[in-house]
Amino acid sequence: MSEEIAISVKNVSKDFVLPHEKVSSIKSIFTSVTKKRNKKADTQHALKDVSFEIKKGEFFGIVGRNGSGKSTMLKILAGIYQPTAGSVRTKGKLVPFIELGVGFNPELTGRENVYLNGAMLGFSDKQVKAMYKDIVDFAELERFMDQKLKNYSSGMQVRLAFSMAVRAEADILLIDEVLAVGDADFQRKCFDYFRSLKGAGTTVVFVTHDMDAVREYCDQAILIENSQLVERGLPSKVAASYTKMFTDQAKGADESSKEQKRWGNSSISYKKVSVSHNKLTSANKEITIKLTAVANKEVENPVFGFLIKNSAHVQILGTNTKIIRKDIKILKKGESIELEWTVPNIFNEGLHYIDPAIIHDGGQVADWWEEAAAFRAIKEDKTPFIVSPDIGLTIGSK
């Protein structure tokens, strides 16, 4: 029973045709015929040859960056988009929650909207009538049901919509970041609901960026990147790949993209740049940056240093051997040097890049290596500032 396949996706591709100039008036049809057909439409490949299967009762996560194609995948599963190639087979009643409260009409009363939204979810009048009281109770909106929806606050609308949504007796639920809306209390309600689904044998497909939610709820997950399925399997594995994707992206340490971002006369050059932590949490009080350089010829008074930029490429700190008065007199040809820098963890949440550099003879650049390494800082207590050091506080009272 548990091995039954609920959704099977086979070699699905989806292309969107993006005309340079959208032909949406009759006149432009004629003019574009006479003009020469040089305006070739761009085809955007939103998904390329994606295949996977979801078992019945599984909690399935689809993760990926913005624009990776994960929402397109969900819309194809929901039958809203037709795949350009390949096939999707689903078994059982499927209810998509691309958004809560689909079809709500602000001019109708709360009560009328319950019936309308109920119809969208496939409930007849009779069925809605039977569960009407439960819906209203759950949404805690008894007093407002005969008011027009336009007079509801957005929170009330979401509550009503969610209260409808949980009634949908679906075999397969598709959820697109519904959890992103609503206050903490509402989010908890959502999570409680998901927990209850897990026991009830409902198949849930869940699109998100939230790796914690993936780890906590999903049985299986896939990672979509650049329109392709790049990883599938246990959520911990997929979440790790997802996080790694971001770190890799900026890690110039991989030899590949160093050309454009590195310059200098190479009299001395860095051989190795490494950091003690790829992921820096609040538990880590400091980060160690290890720079290994080798001299290609004899250089006097070289200055070694680095600077750290945040994900917005703002330079937030930096230093060098001259500033901290640790002068290096001379480096002979072939001689190598290792510098280990310790930087206190003052970083705010996000990706940080390290640019090491070597300068000699009052300003000549030997080696300047932009984004040679990167690390991600994770701060539970984010602040909207460039850095976020631990700030002590003692409150005394007199």
């Binding site: 809203i80 988009y81 079809g103 009409n105 001019e107 009328e112 019936y115 009048d125």
Partner: protein, 268 residues
């Protein structure tokens, strides 16, 4: 089989709710509410009566000319309401289409049914004036049923075609406004067919709307009017042309809508 009934059950539920909401919203905020459904044709009749029966006297020899006029206008208004209303039916529901998968034809059907309810209400007013002006109801009135079916099919066919085309070409809205104005005068609604040259009348009557309106007048109001039979006389099978136009339009529109509806979510 189970899936099939499931699918149509969903369409039916949705259709019912959409027609209901549409009707609730129609006269929302107006003091007289649904009464307007009856008052509108009533006032229309008064205007027609004053202008055409008292001043212009276009009707000439046609008996019961005001009722004759009202019937034509009511049928024409139904056609206009369904087609013009449907042009933006798909685009207007773009938000819905992008978020949920449902049979899109329900949107057009819903608009068509709302207008149909309105048409039936209008017929109450027509019946009222028929009694008032002593128009005798004969057994031939039963022909109204196939005529109304033809009207329903033709209107919805045009509606399907326009709504799907509008998703791609936003000019359709304006083009249709012009066409419907022209068609109003090309259809014998305000004038009797006897006023125009015989040859022109013979062509005009081939238009399904003209045929429907003239036939409806013939069976309901007066035998003293031109229909496709009286104009073409001997060619008995010529009446198949407007029916044929209706059927062909319906099939072509259904095929076009079906094909396009798969891509509505991406294009609206």
């Amino acid at each position: 089989m189970h899936k099939l009934t499931q699918r149509y059950r969903y369409s039916y539920i949705l259709l019912r709710q959409l027609v209901k909401s549409d009707f609730k919203l129609r006269y929302q905020g107006s003091v007289l509410g649904y009464a307007w459904s009856l008052l509108r044709p009533l006032f229309l009749f008064i205007i027609l009566y004053i202008v055409f029966a008292k001043f212009l006297k276009v009707g000439g020899t046609i008996p019961h000319y005001p009722v004759y006029l009202l019937l034509g206008i009511v049928l024409w208004n139904y056609f206009t309401e369904v087609t013009a209303g449907s042009v933006s039916a798909i685009v207007g529901s773009g938000d819905l289409i992008r978020k949920i998968n449902f049979p899109k034809y329900v949107l057009i059907l819903a608009g068509s049914f709302s207008a149909f309810i309105n048409l039936l209400l209008n017929f109450i007013v027509i019946g009222f004036f028929m009694v008032l002006t002593h128009v005798a109801l004969t057994s031939s009135a039963i022909i109204m049923i196939p005529l109304i079916i033809e009207l329903f099919v033709f209107s919805i066919a045009v509606a399907f075609f326009l709504s799907a085309l509008y998703v791609k070409f936003r000019d359709v809205l304006y083009i249709w406004e012009v066409i419907i104005q022209g068609a109003f005068y090309a259809t014998p609604i305000l004038y009797p067919l006897s006023l125009i040259p015989d040859k022109a009348a013979k062509i005009l009557i081939l238009n399904p709307m003209a045929q429907i309106i003239q036939d409806a007048r013939y069976v309901l109001v007066t035998k003293d009017t031109d229909t496709i039979y009286t104009l073409w006389g001997g060619d008995r099978w010529i009446w198949l042309i407007p029916i044929g136009i209706t059927v062909v339009t319906a099939l072509a529109a259904a095929a076009y809508f079906r094909k396009q509806s798969k891509y509505f979510a991406e294009e609206v």
